[in-house]
Amino acid sequence: MINYILRRLTVLVATLFAASMFIFGVVRLIPGDFLSILLGTQRAALSEREILELQRLYGLDKPFVFQYWVWLGNCFQGNLGYSFRTGKPVTQEIARRALITIEIAVLATLLSLLSGVTLGVISATKRERFVDILIRVIALINLSIPPFWLGLIVIFLAASLFGWMPWGRVIPSVKENLVEHLILIAIPSLVMAMGMSGRVMRIARSALLEVIAQEYILTAFSKGLSNKVVWFKHALRNALIPIVTFSGMQFGYLLGGVVVIEHTFGLNGVGSLALNAVTHRDYPLLQGTILIIILGVSLVNLTVDVLYGFVDPRIRYD
């Protein structure tokens, strides 16, 4: 196992290196550079010489390969540069915002797994009965509601019915007010988890139904084992593999969804950071953020692969 993880980490470093090159290129390929966004149509008022001076100020006048080399060198020293727009260190910006995104992502994943698997199990065991149909309809509704819309509805109801709109203020940190912090994070997480739980429920249900149709389950029943033991010990455990796989894959999607939720609730996470960096063509910030996101997703996938071993003892990596 240790060997496996080490091997994977080596691959991870190589991936990051390749990704860094890709990111650096792609970010600069987006039409309309930083100066165009900074100056807008006013850019036309500047002569070529003035533009050149500005490019020099931002280090954009050097050859592409040279810029990349300098950036890579700094990355290895843990320095992702300064944001063009805010003049703040990129690492500091990401570190400050990462926590909120991780909190939402983890909480939304947990909530969706918990509710999705529970509902999936219920609906599989009560197959084609009223409860099953009800749960499937609920899941479909959950899947169909866009999170940004649901988020706005939640905000509006809170503000108009209760005059309560805590996201207008900056939400307190964990240290300042733990309870309030958790509540204010939990509501957006719940909004995100809604759609995800619908998906998890469907996967759990179909995986369970597939497993339950297998011969060893029939054997288990014919041995006289109770319903409970067969469903939970024999069936569910084997049905967990696709659920775990799905959750791992979901994480990448989650980072996309978190952008929308952060936007709606005015939260400051990595998602909105990346979005703002794109709109302003803030190259250092954008590169740094994408690199960190790739690192995060890779680590989650690694964790999922390692988890397989625990979920299904037949999977061995050595």
């Binding site: 987006i30 039409p31 309309g32 550079d33 165009s36 966004i37 900074l38 100056l39 807008g40 149509t41 006013q42 850019r43 036309a44 008022a45 500047l46 002569s47 010489r49 003035e50 533009i51 001076e53 500005l54 100020l57 300064y82 944001s83 063009f84 727009r85 805010t86 003049g87 703040k88 910006e93 400050r96 706005l152 905000i155 509006f156 809170a158 503000a159 108009s160 005059g163 309560w164 709109m165 805590p166 996201w167 207008g168 203020r169 900056v170 936007h263 709606t264 609730f265 005015g266 400051n268 909105s272 950071l273 703002n276 709109t279 302003h280 063509r281």
Partner: protein, 509 residues
């Protein structure tokens, strides 16, 4: 100063608007004001950054030689007084004494000279350099006196000295630090930077050494960034913010319905033109452009896409009432589809023609309505939506037939007309170098004339020429909005969108 008196009358409308919030009693001290806004700053160098989002911060942290009154006239700020020579080519400014930067340094004429020289130096890359090219020489006469010599009389100077890009910076800091870093945000303004989490909030605290005695009244301001306007609306309703800068007419309308919310609205200096590239047929024909103008029902456009929250504009927006010719007096503003069709036929397009309108996603609804209106006279508009950055690139190269994006404004007619329509202007490429000798002449004397009455006559004629030639098809101006909880007192919103008058605000609870 008599000519300024005439302008005062024009400003009464603004005063009335401002008066609604100035009814209250004595100002009270204390408290933080939380103000919500959609976006954070786009850059920190005050002399270079033209983004309005950055300006809102520069206005509070820095000061300038002059400040715009609610009537948009230049008034003393860092310059306590000034004298203008007979020929209008020499300005002598007397600075306030004992003005302190936030780091304790005293502001002197050296800082002013340094700032203006910096803007004028092409190596700085300041987009507003073109506004100050009339400046020939800047001389420090003594610690508190500065003399500006001009190449030619240039009456917009006092107004241009009030713009956020003309914020006076600290010479010592500019020479030793990078002005793009937050540590360098050190000015002489009513508030100083205390804490900043980008895209979340910026905390500004009262500058105890501020030069206007007794001001500001607030302990500080928290600028809270909420990227979704609907969420801002909910925050106003839930009273978790005290004020909000709104951008959409529909949202402003909803905000007005919230009990305890007052929305200040002033016509904006920004305007929306339909950019027309006249370099190639069919748009090179003046009759075709007039047909476009006649086919567009501006009021219907405003009603449809802005829910009525806008005003039709000519070459100078109605937010500049002293200078702007009312659109009813300009040709091409009364919808006339028959005449439009006749003009197209005369120009050789009896069946109409195909044209591409390039813009970006936010403008799509407006583009759709324009396409619909032009279709009625046979002009088939193909709408091309590109990403904003790409749009800017295309605009810069005039790589479009029709374009649609807002243009910013300054409270002086010269700004609207010279750069775009004088043959020596730097932005004439956008309409395909459509210039006119009489217009050149008018714009030349317009910027030299110091008598405001005479100046106005000059610009009235210029606007008539432009409305005939139509290098742009001017559409409308929107409003600038500030929503305030009713306990926020003393605020005046300027047509520039400036929030500099937060220095006069107090909380009445």
């Amino acid at each position: 100063m008599l000519r300024v008196g005439g302008l005062l009358l024009v400003g009464i409308a603004w005063l009335l608007a401002a008066a609604s919030c100035a009814l209250a009693s004595e100002p009270k001290y204390g408290g933080y004001l939380t103000i919500a806004k959609l976006r954070d700053v786009a850059g920190l160098d005050p002399n270079v950054t033209t983004a309005h989002d950055s300006h809102r911060v520069f206005e509070l942290i820095y000061s300038r030689l002059t400040i715009l009154s609610p009537q948009l006239l230049p008034e003393p700020q860092l310059a306590e007084s000034w004298e203008v020579s007979e020929d209008g080519q020499i300005y002598v400014f007397h600075l306030r004494r004992n003005v302190k930067f936030h780091n304790g340094d005293e502001l002197t004429a050296d800082d002013v000279k340094y700032t203006l020289d910096r803007i004028l130096n092409p190596a700085t890359g300041s987009p507003v350099r073109t506004l100050f090219v009339a400046v020939k020489n800047i001389e420090v006469l003594d610690k508190y006196t500065i003399r500006i010599e001009l190449h030619y009389p240039f009456s917009p100077l006092l107004i241009y000295l009030s713009i956020p890009e003309a914020s006076i910076i600290n010479k010592k800091i500019a020479e030793t630090q990078d002005l793009r870093r937050p540590e360098s945000l050190i000015g002489t303004g009513p508030f100083r930077l205390a804490e900043w989490v980008p895209d979340s909030y910026m905390k500004l605290e009262r500058n105890p050494d501020y030069f206007e005695h007794g001001k500001p009244y607030l302990d500080g301001i928290i600028i809270r960034i909420i990227p979704e306007e609907q969420t801002i609306l909910a925050a106003l309703q839930g009273r978790s913010v005290d004020a909000a800068i709104l951008e959409t007419g529909a949202v402003a309308k909803l905000a007005r319905q919230i009990p305890g919310i007052i929305v200040q609205a002033v016509p904006s200096l920004r305007y929306l033109p339909l950019f027309v590239n006249s370099a190639k047929p069919p748009l090179n024909d003046q009759r075709v452009r007039m047909a476009i103008s006649l086919a567009i029902d501006r009021q219907a456009l405003i009603d449809m896409v802005l829910e009525g929250e806008g005003v039709p504009t000519g070459p100078i927006p109605p937010s500049n009432p002293y200078w702007a010719v009312p659109v009813q007096q300009l040709p091409g503003y009364v919808v006339d589809l028959e005449r439009a069709k006749r003009l197209l036929a005369e120009a050789g397009y009896p069946q109409g023609f195909q044209v591409t309108l390039t813009t970006f996603a936010a403008m799509q609804p407006i583009a759709e309505v324009i396409a619909y209106m032009l279709n009625k006279v046979g002009i088939n508009v193909n709408i091309e939506i590109v990403e904003y950055g790409i749009y800017i690139e295309r605009w810069r190269k005039a790589d479009l037939q029709l374009g649609l994006s807002y243009n910013s404004g300054q409270p002086d007619p010269d700004f609207y007309l010279y750069r775009y329509f004088h043959s020596r202007g730097d932005l004439t490429f956008i309409h395909g170098y459509l210039t006119d000798p009489r217009l050149d002449q008018l714009l030349d004397i317009g910027r030299r004339e110091t008598d405001f009455e005479k100046r106005r006559e000059i610009y009235v004629e210029a606007q008539h020429i432009l409305a005939e030639k139509l290098p742009f098809v001017w559409l409308f101006s929107r409003y600038e909005y500030m929503a305030l909880q009713s306990y926020v007192q003393g605020f005046t919103l300027l047509a520039t969108g400036s929030i500099v008058y937060l220095k006069d605000v107090w909380i009445e609870k």
